[in-house]
């Protein structure tokens, strides 16, 4: 074994990331007859229920930087973000043919309407638009959401041809609690010593969690942390930033690398929020639907697609991330034409301005190629932060 452990782990993740045929998920499915795979899009679905059904939740985050979109442009106008067109491209070129069902969370009208396109184009597949409540009271939004979760459970029972018991869901909740715990440890580790866990590595590690069975992903994170801690890397004179706006269409990996190369350690971000959407461990006894519902209502992350009931609380999740991770500033990186990210941004900016926290804004598409302007912008930002903090 010549490769260092960290490098080996990262290479493994990179392989998963680059493979748009989802070979790992196909292998999982083929390993036993009758297995089913459920694709899901950002920002959050309760993967515990899919897992409890014995199915593999598969995160679909578009086609990435390298996939050529040939047909997808015939499906979407130029002024719509890129993720739906590359996702359609994946589907019509057969890369999702093994996926038995798709879940479309209530994040924006593009993903919402994509659920309708799926209904029209892939009539033999299970399609679930997953509506999460915008009312966070147990007796109002909670009742609605619990019923939605039950409907989801029933849909998967029908698809899988077997009942999903409470015990099975509770067991899956425990499995995902552990996974979230390790995700948080990776994020803590990176925030403490970002030079030892470059953002691109952490990103790839989390991307692997979109494809691998959860248990394998948890093990992978344990291995990574152990390897990364054993392999200290030189600390650079970088500033520390939180990256916001990347919760749906993904920034190219090069963009993440460019930011760090330009002098900005990413100490927190909002990519793949599904991995840490629930902020506390979900109880593993009692009524699992009720527990998942309460976790969503009372202990879940904030993002642009979620209504903030109190004006004073708007942006507090971001501010807490800045505080907890010790960020010096914020980089708002939003996908072009992304309503949630771009409409939310002015409000976030107002919160930062009120506190004198520096920020910059930029836009990308998942296939953006030109990184030079981004490097320059981030480099100037890093310099100004350093100057500002030393003055």
């Amino acid at each position: 074994m010549s490769a260092k452990p960290v490098e080996k782990i990262v290479d493994f993740c990179q392989g998963i990331f680059e493979d748009i045929t989802f070979a790992k998920a196909r292998q999982w499915k083929d390993a036993q007859p009758g297995r089913k795979v459920i694709g899901y899009m950002p920002v959050y679905v309760p993967r515990e229920i899919i897992h409890a059904a014995g199915m593999l939740p598969l995160g679909i985050l578009g086609g990435g930087a390298d996939m050529e979109v040939i047909h997808g442009d015939a499906y979407y106008q130029s002024y719509i973000c890129r993720i739906p067109r590359s996702t359609i491209e994946l589907a019509i070129t057969g890369k999702l043919d093994f996926v038995d069902g798709m879940m479309f969370p209530s994040i924006c009208d593009v993903i919402r309407n994509l659920s309708g396109i799926w209904q029209i184009m892939f009539k033999d597949k299970y399609v679930r638009y997953f509506d999460a409540p915008q009312n966070f009271k147990d007796e109002i939004g909670g009742v609605f959401y619990s019923n939605e979760l039950r409907e989801l459970k029933e849909g998967l029972e029908k698809l899988g041809g077997r009942e999903i018991t409470d015990a099975q869901i509770n067991n899956s909740i425990a499995v995902y609690n552990e996974n979230r715990d390790w995700v948080n440890r990776v994020y803590d580790f990176r925030a403490a010593t970002p030079w030892n866990a470059p953002a691109a590595e952490v990103y790839l590690l989390m991307r692997a969690g979109m494809v691998l069975p959860v248990e394998e992903h948890t093990q992978l994170m344990k291995d990574y942390l152990e390897a990364a801690a054993a392999e200290p890397r030189p600390m650079r004179d970088n500033c520390r930033v939180t990256l916001i706006g990347t919760f749906c269409e993904q920034p190219p990996l090069n963009l993440i690398k460019s930011l760090e190369m330009a002098g900005c350690y990413i100490v927190d971000d909002d990519t793949m929020l599904v991995t840490r959407w629930l902020l506390e461990a979900v109880p593993t006894d009692g009524d699992p639907i009720d527990n998942l519902s309460k976790a969503f209502l009372h202990h879940s992350a904030e993002t642009a697609a979620k209504y903030e009931v109190n004006l004073e609380e708007k942006g507090s999740y971001m501010l807490e991330s800045i505080r907890k991770r010790g960020a010096d500033g914020v980089i708002f990186a939003a996908p072009s034409f992304c309503d949630p990210a771009l409409l939310d941004q002015p409000m976030m900016v107002h919160r930062l301005e009120a506190l004198g926290i520096p920020y910059i804004t930029m836009q990308y598409a998942e296939n953006s190629g030109q990184m030079q302007p981004i490097r320059e912008q981030a480099g100037t930002f890093a310099d100004s932060i350093k100057l500002w903090s030393s003055s």
Binding site: D109, N113, V143, K314, D339
Partner: protein, 431 residues
Amino acid sequence: MNNSNQDVIKSNSQLLQKEMISRNYDRITSGQFKVSSTFVPGNLNELLMCFDIANNLPEINAIQNAMRKKSGDFITEAERSGHSEDVCTYVKADIGMMEKGNIAPNGKPFPDPDMLLLSYTGCFTFLKWFELLREQYKCPTVMLHVPYAADGKVTKNMRDYIVTQLKEEVIPTMEKISGIKFDIDRLREYLRKSAQAENDLVWMLEQSKHKPSPIDCYFGGVYYMGPIFTAFRGTDEAIVYYKLLREEIQQRIDLGLCAQTPEGDMSEEKYRLVVEGPPNWTSFREFWKMFYEMGAVVVASSYTKVGGVYDYDNFRHDPDHPLESLADYCLGVYTNRNLPTRVDMLARNVKEYEADGLLINSIKSCNSFSAGQLVMMREIEKLTGKPGAFIETDLVDPRYFSAANVKNRLESYFQMIDQKRRAGGSATVAV
């Protein structure tokens, strides 16, 4: 055209509507009423009336400003203050207007709203729009989350959720703001009136089945929908308006007239279209003119369903089930329907109104309408055998209306229809 001069010909119903709209602006700006802002889809006008709260609709303000050629400056102003070029221009026209003094079309300043009724129905942007306004006005904001009818049907869970929010959140907030106690019988009375006007409205929509069609159901349709989509659903005035409109349309049918336009009656109806998507407002008249000059009339459109769908599944507000019927109304607005339902609705329109095809006006601003329209077009072409066409404009941003492009596209489309006719089969000529 029967009328060659450029003066706009207005019927009695149009004059009445104009008066109604200006009366509503006077009411909003009078300082004598509590004011709520809310949206056209999921507009709970009857409920607001129960509390004597005036209804201010920012989308309508944006349209008014666009038609007065003011929206461009407002949008630039909003972009200057940090709003992205890529987002819905209704929002930016509204925010820009606020930043430039917030003057209503009657020349008086808009008062700050006493509440924001965030009817979250059919459009994601609504959620952010009112969060942005709340930041400015710091007034009570009440969310009414309307689940998306993703499987083409309304479930008990969806309806119950809305009714509970009405009971526990929306009504108590309105009581508190207005100081008026909720009276369900008052609501029933308004809903009875709504249903009455809605009957005439549906009658109106269906008259474009005539050949020639006595009305244009897109450009003309947006006027006809005005009262029911805004602050008049549930009022006697709306009943009077739709009765008058009905009489006028009946008269047009009796006289065999083609659709009415700002320049008089069309002399000939050459093409019958179904249109999907909102119109462009900054060049509304010019846009419309391209159609009637080429002899094209719109016989049905999805935009006339954006504030409520009354014909497709025959929904009416129901005084016997007041809150449930408000819930069903919100759930049923066009943009809250899934794509297969939209396709079915429009394909049926093409067939039942004997249209030559479907034209999509795709709006840069609006993902709620626009995302998926290309798939819809192909589906509808398949289902009807009629050709579709696609044009692109924006709502209230003058930068995105290219008259030459739109005109070219329309001309090619009409040529295509002609060719199809010559090839036989799909002729629907009515002269």
